[in-house]
């Protein structure tokens, strides 16, 4: 098999460049020289000669935010890649089984109950997991149907139900204190990321990533009709449960810290597939690189393009829609 290293090299190079740029630009510009000098003094342990506020901006303000964009982008793209393969459909996004709606309901409920940010994140995470567990539990019991179809339809129905509960809470919420916070959360943001949030989300995202990496070959067989995959020796029920769990964990961890940021998990795996084909082992790493880079670029734009912060979910949609249509026209029939 040919090694097709080029897309990975380009994506890695672009990601490194973007990361340096993201540290440099903003309300308080930092030069690349300053960033590298700070980096080398951190590595060698020598005394930094830079002004203290440069270090504060890079390490305290931009550092967590840049890292969060990378982690959230990569996690959403990885989950999207897994789900698109599993549902044999390139139009599937990581929230197809209701993880985002469930997380949103958890967060909105926490805001409605005036709980603090820690509980908002906890309830978002728990809400996401609970919604998918509910969808999966019901879907698996609808026997006599195609298991995937049962799962998708249950996801749609439960998602709609949870959505109307969110609407009810918004209707009941205090329009001056709670409603803006709810709206802000539903639009997604990386502005208020603290190192603590990352420390909680990153291990969970990694925990979700591990089975996907280990099962990268076997994942391909989930793209086959159920009977065929089983006849080839795969226990599809077990594998599918594992993949749903892993992808849900990744998505819920991401959504809990960033709120709902759409499009990354839909668009990125699709773009990666056009570059390296559908084999999951090749697709997953590229998808994560592109996802991390895309969200970092979007978030950097969000905080620099206008005097006020633009919600990243709005920007991903503005960039994503035309890009997706372009890809779609490019791809013709084969994904």
């Amino acid at each position: 098999m040919k090694t097709r290293a080029l897309p990975y090299l380009i994506a890695t190079g672009a990601l490194v460049g973007l990361t340096a740029l993201a540290f440099a630009v903003g309300r308080y510009p930092v030069s690349l020289a300053e960033i590298f000098s700070l980096l080398s003094s951190k590595i060698t342990g020598s005394e930094s000669t830079l002004p203290a506020n440069v270090e504060t901006v890079v390490m305290q303000v931009r550092g967590p935010r840049v890292l969060a964009a990378l982690v959230v982008g990569a996690a959403l793209a990885a989950a999207g890649t897994a789900y698109q393969g599993m549902f044999r459909n390139p139009l599937v996004s990581p929230d197809i089984l209701g993880v985002s709606t469930g997380a949103a309901l958890g967060a909105v409920l926490a805001i409605f109950l005036s709980l603090n940010i820690f509980f908002i994140q906890m309830m978002a995470f728990a809400g996401g997991l609970a919604a998918v567990a509910l969808v999966y539990g019901i879907g698996a019991r609808l026997r006599g149907h195609d298991p995937l179809l049962a799962l998708v339809l249950t996801g749609v129905v439960i998602g709609t139900l949870l959505g109307s509960v969110i609407a009810l809470l918004k209707y009941l919420a205090d329009p001056y204190n709670q409603l803006p916070a709810i709206t802000y959360w539903l639009l997604g943001s990386l502005a208020a990321i603290a190192p603590r949030d990352l420390a909680a989300a990153a291990p969970l995202a990694l925990l979700g990533l591990a089975p996907m990496l280990l099962l990268r070959w076997r994942m391909n067989l989930l793209a086959l009709p159920d009977d065929e995959a089983r006849a080839l020796g795969v226990d599809t029920r077990k594998l599918r449960t594992l993949v749903v769990t892993a992808a849900t964990l990744m998505t819920a961890a991401a959504v809990a810290v960033s709120g709902i940021i759409g499009w990354v998990g839909l668009l990125i795996p699709h773009a990666a597939r056009l570059l390296v084909g559908p084999d999951f082992g090749r697709l997953l790493p590229l998808s994560m690189l592109l996802g991390a880079g895309f969200l970092l670029a979007v978030d950097t734009l969000c905080r620099t393009v206008a005097p006020i912060e633009v919600p990243p979910g709005v920007l991903t949609a503005l960039i994503g829609t035309p890009f997706f249509l372009w890809l779609f026209a490019l791809a013709r029939k084969s994904w």
């Binding site: 390139p90 280990l214 076997r218 391909n220 020796g233 795969v234």
Partner: protein, 255 residues
Amino acid sequence: MLEANALAFGFPGRTVGHDVSFSLAAGEVMCVLGPNGGGKTTLFRTLLGLLPPHGGSIALQGDALKTLSRREIARRVGYVPQGQVSGFAYTVLEVVLMGRTAHLGAFGTPGERDRRVAARALETLGIAHLAERPVTQVSGGERQLALIARALAQEPRLLVMDEPTASLDFGNQVRVLQSVSSLAASGISILFASHDPDHAFLAAHRALLLAEGRVVALGAPAEVIRADTLERLYQVKVSVVPVGGGHTCLPALER
């Protein structure tokens, strides 16, 4: 190789077939004929262990099928489905390599030996030149051959083929039947379903006629494929005529 004894089969809550018994020897080809909805696909899915039997028993190389794991079954039986378009543009080689799954560990990826087996399977079916082509961009006949190659990559003792010639043009039908014959000559047992009784004459040692889930006849094609059995199967008038040392079926149209 494969033995079915008083087998009843169907979907959860609905039994569609009763009292099917047969055995298949190594290197033997059996063609299953029957009308649409006669239970052919359901029988095959049961024989592959994809549906639990509703009664009776199945034995594979002397082992009760229900005691074998999915992985163990996949190492003994290759399944060739009707060639549908799969959603993603995997290359033909990638599709064939998927046949190696049962020989890999849960976290394994195909290695050198797996690639050799896949390449040999492509060679056997005469489609080695298609290896790097996306499976979504080859013809229906080529895709069917790729699916047979995938089943061969399982290194099975038995191939179960569900209407391998469906929706293929005449030339590709002959090519598929040719590969059925040569695979059987190499010692693999083959069970295949067809809508064309002539295929049984051409490629099968025995024919099993299945209607409404019951065995109408089972035996050498020349003995069981007759005007009366075909009329019972399909409710049309057919004459079976000897030609060139074999037989062929001629439907009699009303004028």
